[in-house]
Symmetry: C2
Subunit: 197 residues, 2 copies
Amino acid sequence: MPGALSSAALDQLFRTARTYNEWTDQPVDEHTVHEIYELLKWGPTSANSCPARFVWVRSAEGKARLAGLAMEANRPKILAAPLTVIIGHDLDFPDTMPRLFPARGEMMRQYFRQPGNAEVTAMRNGTLQGAYLMIAARALGLDCGPMSGFDNAGVDRAFFAGTRIVSNFICCLGYGKPGTPWPRNPRLSFEEAGRFA
Amino acid sequence: MPGALSSAALDQLFRTARTYNEWTDQPVDEHTVHEIYELLKWGPTSANSCPARFVWVRSAEGKARLAGLAMEANRPKILAAPLTVIIGHDLDFPDTMPRLFPARGEMMRQYFRQPGNAEVTAMRNGTLQGAYLMIAARALGLDCGPMSGFDNAGVDRAFFAGTRIVSNFICCLGYGKPGTPWPRNPRLSFEEAGRFA
């Protein structure tokens, strides 16, 4: 059985990883984006529902469009980043269940089609997949700049028109400029965030 | 700048990691639970809001109580696992903002206190933290068995009474019994799950 990853790996994933807003000139190429997806796709979701959908915004036009729908403080971050991914989730994901969960696909399709079930399942599991995306990017040596300050309805119209995909959060991707993040904020202690039972 | 983690590390985190329902006899000790938290706490959340709260259910009584509130198919999984963590999020998290985000804590507290803001922020960011928990556990050599099939309101009454913490999902933790998971289900291709823009 595997043991713990190396201390350097734990640093890279969690302990010294930071949210970046400034980036080196190193681009994020198409191959790297595929590598991120080929890792994140394996992360667990409820009944393998995989409801997240991704728009990898890398063109000047796409960045300008997305930046125009973001809170003012987030606009320069989007324009400066090599790439910003929109993490959304598809409310029509139940239709993929027969393919993604062959053992009980039709049963799960009907379950997720019941009122309210698609929404909460897509939000929960699409968000999990967004976290897998960020950790996968870090595991590949990239840095992340996640944000939720933008006009979700506007982004849905601009990037998901004609679908039932809704935006969740967005995340800049690139190679963070060393030394640029603010000093790290405190975290809750183990006891403040939980307890044994 | 760091490069990609080793292929073995990427396997352990994503590519060969699986959801387990059966476990070896190896216990999950208190020190390991603290180690999981000390990694996951560094994962990014909106304005460092850290809304997730955790109940690490390890006692026989706690397991029986939680299992009694789970879907029938999930009961034996909870009873068999060394430990099952309830991942919830605190709708009162805005009150922690002055401490967690000193630079603009009072402003963020007021923003998150506006109707509807706490709920969506807690759900999104608490879920991200749940994913960080699973990846942190895998990074430490453990396996996960996440589930959302349980009575959320009942779990809230049983484990979060007198608070505004609500349950999100639960996750068994331990060392997976080799060879026990079902064959792996398919995933969406890169193109099915997204596009460049």
